[in-house]
Symmetry: C2
Subunit: 249 residues, 2 copies
């Protein structure tokens, strides 16, 4: 187990090989055993295998990343209050979950379930990759996956047999992300120390060179996650929360 | 690994037994290897062991649940853009992460890391429990854990050697939470079928009886997660997002 956790690599190239149904079931079962708030299971998992549908998701939601249609299994984890609401209404109980806290709670539960699914998949010898694009194109995801009010896509995981063995990616040193007892804010000296190894990686130095940017940080702020995109996606995500019924507080 | 995933129980009673430092480090390392957006690691982990501090958290943030001070290790996983922002500023790059999308992205990453930590802990023979109270009392958590602007607590996990072996809790049948290809909305018939086993559990029937409520759903809507609490906590959480600098879009 520990070895699996420590050796995780995101896989973005998959073999043209189906996943046996009993393994798919095992992955979904592992997801369903995850810790969740009040055992209410405020999430749903959309398991997409249909080639045309995967291609549509890839083109319209996932910035045309080839791994979406290549992967035999695409799992979209959604915050879902709809099922619970319907249960409450069917029992004459009045649900009070059309608010931000409920959405946030459901998000946390959906992600815990997603990570269980990922680890079960890796246990079965499969590779996985999380797709952040789900949050950027949630409106389109809702349309394509036919998500009703009360349901918002949180994250997507592509699953399949790896057709690549990428190197382990770097991480900040443990003392950069862990704080003992309470948060200790970072001095510029701390920042320089914590980011030194990352900045000195040949791969990152080369990235700065070919992009002709001032530093590795500029790759993120100017190329990969620029302010105007983040703001655009933020507005659209908040709009979706309203439309899907999570902003009544 | 699979057995661990399938046999998870939340542990709420712990032995008075320290966790060896190498095991704590192994848990934190497993967390740091988790998938995360753009390898930016937008999270921090506060590892609290100090007895007085744990008691303070328990009393002021976690509804006085005894397991907080009883557990030898309390891990609070935070969405953290502060460290990344400081790195950008130190390199003359202009960060654009004071918005909702960045907070939401950081939340997802913090939760994936949290679940890795939980599974590593369970691998080492420890028990864990997630605390949803962190979202209800985030303002107080920020104060006690001294979280600066750009940092919001997402979830707390208590870790220790179990002093109980609870039964495995029930789950909805897999076909209640999994949708093939696209979302299939639930009819009342579906709801009745999916919630039947849960409603017929002796434990739940007894809960309805001793609370003198109309149904199990009423336990949730009236007793455990009532509308007015959800709305109150929603407003305070949204206020905190503003205060911590995540609502500029």
């Amino acid at each position: 187990m520990l070895e699996n956790l420590l050796n995780h690599r995101s896989i973005r190239k998959f073999k043209n090989q189906e996943i046996p149904q009993d393994i798919v079931t095992s992955i979904l079962e592992a997801a369903s055993r995850a810790s969740n708030t009040g055992n209410m299971q405020w999430y749903s998992i959309i398991a997409t295998k249909d080639v045309a549908l995967k291609q549509k998701l890839q083109a319209e939601c996932h910035f045309n990343q080839g791994m979406v249609s290549q992967a035999p299994l695409v799992l979209t984890f959604c915050a879902d209050i709809n099922r619970f609401n319907k249960w409450c209404v069917a029992r004459n109980a009045e649900p009070g979950y059309d608010n931000f806290l409920s959405f946030y709670t459901a998000t946390i539960d959906a992600v815990i379930a997603a990570q269980n699914a990922c680890l079960a998949a890796e246990h079965h010898g499969l590779g996985i990759c999380y797709l952040g694009t789900t949050n950027y194109t949630a409106k389109k995801m809702i349309e394509i996956l036919q998500l009703p009010r009360g349901v918002v896509p949180v994250t997507t995981v592509v699953v399949g047999y790896a057709d690549e063995i990428p190197d382990l990616t770097d991480r900040l040193p443990l003392d950069a992300i862990v704080h003992l007892e309470t948060y200790k804010d970072y001095t510029t000296g701390d920042i320089n120390k914590h980011y030194k190894a990352k900045e000195e990686l040949e791969f990152h130095k080369n990235l700065v060179k070919i992009n002709n940017t001032e530093s590795l940080a500029h790759i993120f702020t100017q190329k990969r996650y620029p302010k105007q995109n983040n703001e655009l996606f933020s507005r659209s995500l908040l709009e979706i929360l309203k439309e899907q019924g999570f902003m009544n507080q």
